[in-house]
């Protein structure tokens, strides 16, 4: 994830609005992907040297617009329109675990196609087993 926010005081647009439009643009350009975590409010406030409430307000507006999902305690995540009702934090954690498995497979020398095949095979075996299990009940 890459997110560079630049703010300029003395602009016609209020500072929270500048943050909102830059995050909005980053999502539209694919620089921020669904499940990506936005910087914590306090961290971004310290980095940009602005009032933390201004960052919180920007995140609130983004949340209201459905662009991000805020989870108390775990942070603010870019929303996935396809999974709007899923738990963004859990999806993020899941993505990170998948990334770990991909990295390990690549270290073993597997090519992308082999990883995909392996994953598809495991998924098929798993769902088959689960359906089988359900039939037994």
């Amino acid at each position: 994830m890459a997110l560079w926010i630049e703010i300029s005081p003395g602009s016609h647009e209020p500072i929270y609005g500048q943050i909102v439009s830059q995050v909005d643009r980053a999502i539209a350009m694919g620089e921020l992907l669904p499940g990506d975590r936005l910087p914590a409010v306090r961290k971004l406030a310290a980095e940009l040297v602005i009032n933390p409430n201004t960052v919180a307000r920007a995140y609130m507006v983004l949340d209201e617009q459905g662009l991000v999902v805020s989870k108390t305690g775990s942070g603010t995540f870019v929303a996935d329109p396809a999974m709007a009702d899923r738990d963004a934090a859990e999806l993020n954690a899941l993505s990170e675990r998948i990334d770990g498995i991909i990295a390990r497979a690549m270290n073993m020398g597997l090519a992308a196609r082999e990883i995909t095949r392996l994953f598809a095979a495991r998924l098929k075996a798993f769902t088959g087993r689960r359906q089988g299990g359900q039939k037994d009940e």
Binding site: P9, G10, H12, E13, I15, Y16, A45, A46, V49, N51
Partner: protein
């Protein structure tokens, strides 16, 4: 415990026959950064000195952290940091001696580690004499002295006046660092609206000693605005919208600067005088401040947010 870090009630100070502070009633909630704005000579420094009990009011009263400003106890004083205008520090002292002197006022709270870290960050050695420091270095020492006791309330009188951009930024960083901790409050006066816009939650505007505005920065940003109306059928004789700050008349256009007036109200008035729909003109905080504080044809009035 009071939810207000600062409260003034009808605070008034006369010097000779002139009111430097004129029935100032304002309150600063705990946990916010409050920017005190006003043109030169508006009474900001006098107001701050009254709050700190360094001057006695002609009338009215003020409280810091729930304690009367005229009778601040050592315990309450120990929770307040104050940065003077121009960063006046005893010139004959070394930085180390100044730190020892200051520490005596804040025996339980002074954080020598933080003070040392800030000096290192500013590349100042504790053995330096205050009188040998540049203005900027003196300001840095004064910031370190104000931050070291971990104040619950930090009051700074135009702290970044005349400082270069790097040191100005260090002050703002210090403010953000302090406010990120629970229950801290900062009141500062400033001329630099860019700094105010970065860090302030709330602002007060003082003019000739009196309060003109007291609201959140966002409310002020959306309350003061400019609209342009096309008036093809001739200018109205009088612009009688409540909330008018200024009006400028062009050939067939009327430009109005308004405060706290809704779109609906503007349109209703425009219909009444046969003017065409309004076009908003975007304003910077500086535009808004200038329009709000410069004398115009509108009457002076107070804007108080929610």
């Amino acid at each position: 415990m009071s939810e207000l870090a600062v409260r003034t009630t009808g605070l008034t100070k006369y010097f000779g026959g002139a009111a430097a502070v004129d029935h100032l009633t304002l309150s600063v909630p705990r946990g916010c950064i409050y920017g005190l704005l006003g043109r030169n000579g508006a009474g900001k420094t006098t107001a701050i000195k009254l709050m700190l009990g360094l001057l006695h009011p002609t009338a009215g009263s003020s409280e810091l952290l729930g304690c009367d400003s005229r009778r601040l106890t050592p315990e309450v004083r120990g929770r307040i940091g104050y940065v003077t205008e121009g960063h006046r520090l005893p010139r004959w002292m070394t930085i180390a001696a100044l730190a020892r002197f200051q520490r005596a006022f804040f025996p339980a709270r002074w954080d020598e580690g933080l003070f040392g870290e800030m000096l290192d960050y500013f590349r100042l050695s504790a053995g330096r004499k205050v009188r040998r420091l540049s203005n900027g270095q003196r300001a840095q020492v004064s910031l370190a002295v104000a931050m070291a006791p971990d104040p619950d309330l930090l009051i700074m009188d135009d702290p970044t006046l005349g400082l270069d951009v790097v040191i100005r930024r260090q002050f703002l960083e210090g403010m953000i660092q302090l406010i990120q901790r629970r229950g801290k409050t900062i009141l500062f006066s400033s001329h630099i609206l860019g700094d105010v816009e970065r860090v302030a939650d709330r602002i007060a505007i003082i003019e000739r000693g009196a309060l003109r505005a007291d609201c959140s920065l966002n409310e002020f940003r959306s309350a003061v605005r400019k609209v342009r109306l096309a008036v093809p059928d001739g200018m109205p004789d009088e612009v009688d919208i409540p909330g008018l700050l200024h009006s400028r008349r062009g050939e067939s256009e009327l430009e109005l600067t308004l405060v706290g007036v809704s779109d609906g109200q503007v349109e209703a008035w425009a219909d009444q005088v046969g003017a065409a729909r309004c076009k908003p003109v975007s304003m910077t905080l500086e535009d808004q401040f200038i329009e709000f504080t410069s004398p115009g044809d509108g009457r002076l009035f107070e804007w108080e947010g929610e």
